[in-house]
């Protein structure tokens, strides 16, 4: 895995957001355009040619054909890779990624192959139509699963259970985000310059608010933050602007200049991606992600023998500095030559000089002996730590008492 420095993390996340926006725009356009061109090609040849484009009014800056497919695949790969780098979820096994990639490539390939037949004005045979439809549905399915996976990232507490319960991947929040993606796809399709599909933009813009509110209601509780409400309000305003400008154009039976609706839809996509990123930032804090690696009690043997200590055992003993351990754990209460909270250690060590092993035992399991002092807490020392401390204490005492 590529190492990521803390300072780079913000940049990585911004990059991921940018790629996700581009992916959403390009994939949405592709999916929507194919879907909406299918009925025309199936029924009759009447109507303006769909793809053969004379140099005329500028099209949306989204290409058609092989370059689109490759570009979309590139966006998808970058998006997923950056997501993995930024959040390191260690989720989603090989089969999941493999399966998704295969489906994605098949979907793109089917569409690209069928596009050859979708060009031109002649009605298309059934096979290319079926291929295009299947490819489209495959891409939509891939988007559905990816958006559910993105929503699943918002509930880190369920990550350990995904392997045994794969259906946990699906969530209402993810489904709603998929619905929002389809609305964005519809809006992008409506930007087509060849036909007046602006009613699509209007319809999608009108449908946007209830889905946005629903998505907010269904977001995992720990992912909620005031910023989400801000992004949601901005998306509502953008959708309102889209609806207003489209209504005006529809009433005047004119096509809007491309820049306005395109920038509005782009803004909508950016805000949509931004709200997902904000939700992830809120919920994926370091303190929340700690402690997630739960070994299933039924499947594996217990890592440590039955032990009431809640602290996980160390794997291999690294070298421990006795002085550092003393400073960290003991010096709060103990000094050698004076009473602090606990007794002065020089007095204590006198008692243990003849029997050093019992000191290590006491350190691991301190008992209240002297009523004059409070109980010494059990600091959960390992055997190695106790022995190192014992050695340190006696070495220190020897140094102190050796005449200079």
């Amino acid at each position: 895995m590529l190492p990521v420095i803390q300072e780079q993390l913000l940049f990585v996340k911004m990059l991921q957001g940018a790629f996700q926006t581009l992916l959403c725009l390009s994939l949405g356009y592709l999916v929507g355009e194919v879907l909406f061109s299918l009925p025309g090609k199936a029924i009759s040849a009447a109507g303006a040619p769909l793809f053969s484009l004379p140099p005329g009014p500028p099209r949306p800056k989204i290409l058609t054909g092989k370059r689109t497919g490759l570009l979309i695949a590139l966006f998808m790969a970058c998006n997923l890779l950056l997501m993995k780098i930024a959040y390191r979820p260690d989720l989603f096994t090989g089969p999941f990624w493999g399966g998704l990639t295969v489906l994605f490539i098949i979907g793109l390939a089917l569409i690209l192959v069928a596009r050859q037949h979708l060009r031109g004005t002649r009605p298309t045979a059934r096979l290319p139509l079926a291929a295009a439809l299947t490819g489209d549905l495959l891409l939509l399915a891939v988007c559905f699963f990816l958006l559910n996976a993105e929503s699943f990232l918002l509930t880190p507490e369920s990550w350990p259970f995904l392997a045994s319960r794969p259906l946990l991947l699906l969530s209402w929040n993810g489904t709603l985000r998929f619905m929002q993606f389809t609305l964005l796809a519809l809006m992008l399709t409506g930007l087509d310059r060849q036909q007046n599909r602006q009613w699509l933009i209007l319809g999608a813009a009108l449908l946007w608010p209830p889905f946005q509110i629903l998505e907010l209601l269904l977001i995992p509780e720990l992912a909620r933050s005031p910023w989400l409400y801000l992004w949601a309000a901005l998306t509502l305003l953008t959708a309102a602007a889209l609806a207003l400008m489209t209504t005006r154009a529809l009433r005047k039976k004119r096509l809007l200049p491309l820049a306005y609706p395109l920038s509005a839809v782009t803004l909508l996509a950016i805000l949509w991606v931004l709200s997902a990123q904000t939700a992830r930032e809120t919920t994926l804090s370091g303190v929340a992600l700690a402690g997630l690696q739960l070994p299933p009690a039924t499947e594996r043997e217990p890592i440590a023998p039955v032990d009431s200590q809640p602290v996980p055992q160390p794997q291999a003993p690294p070298t421990i500095d006795g002085g550092q351990l003393f400073a960290q754990k003991c010096s709060v209460c103990h000094r050698f030559d004076q009473r602090l909270i606990g007794p002065p250690l020089s007095a204590v060590l006198v008692k243990y000089r003849s029997d050093k092993e019992s000191l290590a035992g006491f350190l691991r399991n301190p008992q209240k002996i002297d009523p004059d002092y409070p109980a010494m807490p059990n600091l959960n020392l390992t055997q190695q730590e106790a022995e190192v401390l014992t050695d340190y204490l006696f070495d220190y005492e020897t140094v102190q008492t050796t005449p200079q």
């Binding site: 507490e157 369920s158 005031p226 309000a233 207003l244 009433r251 299933p296 909270i341 807490p377």
Partner: protein, 170 residues
């Protein structure tokens, strides 16, 4: 249709949803995951730097259904003499002098119709951080799990614990 009608209708429609959003934001803010405590006890110092085990203070977590918080005397066992000049310790000493318990704000709170036994969960080998997160890194304790039933059930199913209704709803 009058020229302005679509604009009014659209504005009303979107205005309604914006109002709904504002209502949501006002009445349904992010749930209080971290509350302000009467004494600013830092787990980072005690559980982190000093490495005190969770059960040193929260003794009853291993012994019974409730984990609870330590009595004032537990804090005083060290802080009778340590850092007594600090304002937070002064507050602690004030509680001792008045003989008053500290009213800690509970963060991990399950409703009354749920029976949750800490002892069973600790004894099953779960680490404290599985449900409470990395408490030793928290300056103020905050809730990091949703405590929803689905989450409890997922863990129960994965670890072979009972998921009968009466296990928890009794």
């Amino acid at each position: 249709m009058p020229k302005w009608l679509p604009h009014i209708l659209l504005s009303a429609y979107f205005g309604f949803f914006l109002l709904l959003l504002a209502t949501l934001a006002w009445f349904w803010p992010a749930s209080p995951r971290a509350a302000s405590q009467p004494i600013a006890f830092p787990h980072t110092v005690h559980a982190g730097q000093l490495g005190l085990s969770c059960s040193f203070c929260h003794e009853s977590a291993e012994l019974g259904p409730q984990a609870g918080v330590p009595a004032v005397s537990k804090c005083l066992s060290c802080h009778q003499a340590i850092a007594t000049d600090r304002p937070e310790i002064q507050k602690l000493l004030g509680y001792q002098q008045r003989g008053e318990p500290i009213r800690w704000q509970r963060i991990y709170h399950l409703p009354d119709f749920i029976y949750f036994s800490h002892k069973r969960h600790v004894n099953s080998g779960l680490d404290c951080s599985a449900c409470h997160g990395a408490v030793e890194e928290m300056q103020t304790v905050k809730r990091v799990r949703s405590l929803q039933m689905g989450w409890c059930l997922s863990c129960h199913r994965s670890r072979g614990a009972s998921f009968d209704c009466a296990t928890c709803h009794k």
